[in-house]
Point group: C2
């Protein structure tokens, strides 16, 4: 069993789409400079002790990254221990055999640090590019996810589906270091996608852009569906827009103009983001993490109470935020946020154990059990490490 | 104009397929160890001053590399100045839009060092894997090469073909650093493939496994076809199996058992390679470069006389040759072979210029003019550098 097969404790990571936000003059960030910044974010996160680094796939002029696996291979070479994932791979438009080959190669290059996050794609630009029919949006994803998992779990594999030629006793090479390359599913809020992940026993990312409370029923749906299918529910991750600075005031004042630019350019349907709306989003029950380390810790812990997640991925550097500010935010996530989140969860676990919390109490209050289970897993990992 | 758009002088590089040759007990090299060795070869070649590093694509259990672009991205991060190419990309089985996106990303990550070498594939294992009909072997390549070049040269692009869905005013992103991502064609000896490269004005690799003289007519065919299509003939590269050591004896005695293993496992049709046959292949007019630096220089210069090539790619580390021997061979290629080849070509150019060689003499003797042109280009590059 490789180290990465162990279930880890609460994890914190960062990710980016490599967007080429335009400055006030309308000049976009050059793609090569953006990729060098992405590498700097990754090496800082790795050195400072974050757990995961992700890059997402877009086939558009305003993004630097259409090939997460190629970017992640460079990141693999520049880092030592951080896990590497797509956020996301638009699996509907990909050939799952190629996707597996690419990420198996990344896994070999990185010593077993690769993961795939599969998504249907928030944008649809990949469909005309690869000659696909948008009316079959769901069918492509379902069919290709099925093949990806089969290729991961069996070798050689015999498969037939509706959106890709069949395979007859086909070997797919090379094989990864990890015995089972992790495949997560990312959802924006579609219940059917949540149920699919639960049914297939795959870990789930909730991409939280609206009110976090609205995602609690989805977390419950995921666990219920998993149990109904006979599985122990898998891990939940949360992804959010993040900027951390030493003080709440510094974080918001610095970030606001850049984030308003990001929203204007990447989410034009929202319209111009005023400072009042920004502050409301950044408030304790809003989806945006723009604040001091303490504020970010509090919001992660609150979300943990209602969602029971065990991984948080911060989308950083949004809106062309200067490199120094992004690096400082990453450092604070690693040195102040992550240790405090782990400490708090360990404490609440201890209290829960002392209060005699049982398995049954889970459904009435996710927080305590999730904390207990997290702590048990942490102890386990620790024990494994000590016993080596 | 970026530096890589300049036409360089004679170039020497190395490449590998990452084959997982089995040792005497039948145990293959683990894929992760092999990839780490490939990275060590690349960093040594880069530091020592070689010009090009390539990795090839196979979808088989006995090779570590099915995704050259993912491996090359890690190499990009580990190196400073060496150019990075696939050797080859099996374009018949690839989606050219993805291929372009991947190599454009590599180009951005490496500061403009990416190249694509397109081939039809010596093995055919990719055809059933991607649901392709072997009867359309040529059609796939022709159609997809056409799309790759269109995607490279136009953005957005409107295209239709017979083996891939059409594109209607489609943008392909990101764009590379180099204004024109180099696309070479690799051929094993098929005249139609040589003619295609000449007609399309693409540089050509001759993969020389048989008697080198047999490739002289192909080099002539390439240049004739190019001129007939109205082009100035492009560059020719030569690829060969190579091992260099301090002395001829050391090179051959060390290399023979490994190379015999390579031939036995990767070219079983040849049968068991005896020492006599090995020595014949390694003789001055044989295809194999196994010898001292002086012997390798002589053979490159002789091939240069009959082929007029300006790039030589050495396939290194064959047959599970130990890492130290491969690294030493790479060092010798960079420090003893390459400078001497360049020196000799410059000298013959000078003599040619003094003897009043004119443009017309090219067709009767490729060597002198190629040398002249090479020297002019070198002067040009030098001048550009000095003037900066």
């Amino acid at each position: 069993m490789t180290e990465s097969d162990e279930v880890p404790g609460f994890e914190l990571g960062i990710f980016t789409f490599g967007e080429l936000t335009s400055d006030a003059d309308g000049t976009p960030i050059p793609a090569d400079r953006r990729l060098q910044e992405v590498l700097a974010w990754a090496t800082t996160a790795d050195r400072a002790g974050l757990d995961v680094f992700g890059v997402g796939e877009h086939h558009r002029p305003d993004f630097a990254i259409s090939s997460p696996q190629v970017v992640l291979a460079a990141v693999a070479q520049a880092t030592e221990r951080i896990r590497l994932t797509s956020t996301v791979t638009v699996l509907s438009s990909a050939d799952p055999v190629r996707t597996f080959e690419d990420f198996a190669t990344l896994d070999l290059l990185s010593g077993g640090r690769a993961e795939i996050t599969a998504g249907r794609g928030a944008y649809i630009e990949s469909f005309p590019l690869f000659g696909q029919d948008l009316d079959r949006y769901d069918e492509y994803f379902e069919d290709r996810l099925d093949l990806l998992l089969r290729v991961r779990d069996e070798n050689p594999v015999t498969w037939s589906g509706t959106t890709r030629p069949p395979l007859a006793n086909a070997g797919v090479w090379p094989r990864p270091v990890q015995s089972k390359l992790p495949v997560w599913i990312a959802v924006g809020g579609t219940p059917e996608s949540v149920e699919r992940a639960g049914r297939l026993d795959l870990p789930l990312y909730l991409a939280i852009l609206g009110a976090p409370e609205r995602f609690a029923p989805l977390a419950r749906l995921y666990r219920d569906t998993a149990r109904a299918a006979g599985h122990t529910p898998g891990r939940i991750g949360v992804t959010s827009h993040v900027h951390v600075a030493k003080t709440s005031r510094a974080a918001r004042d610095t970030f606001y103009p850049y984030y308003a630019g990001y929203i204007g350019q990447n989410m034009p349907r929202i319209g111009r983001l005023g400072r009042d709306a920004f502050d409301a989003w950044a408030s304790p029950r809003g989806a945006l993490f723009a604040g001091s380390p303490a504020e970010v810790v509090d919001k992660i812990l609150w979300e943990h109470e209602i969602l029971g997640h065990s991984r948080f991925l911060a989308q950083v550097g949004l809106g062309g935020l200067p490199l120094a500010d992004t690096l400082s935010s990453i450092e604070l996530l690693a040195t102040e946020v992550l240790p405090e989140v782990r400490r708090s969860l360990a404490t609440s676990t201890k209290q829960a154990v002392e209060a005699g919390v049982h398995r049954e109490s889970f459904d009435s209050g996710a927080r305590l059990l999730a904390a207990v289970s997290l702590n048990l897993k942490n102890s386990c990992v620790l024990e494994n490490r000590v016993n080596r």
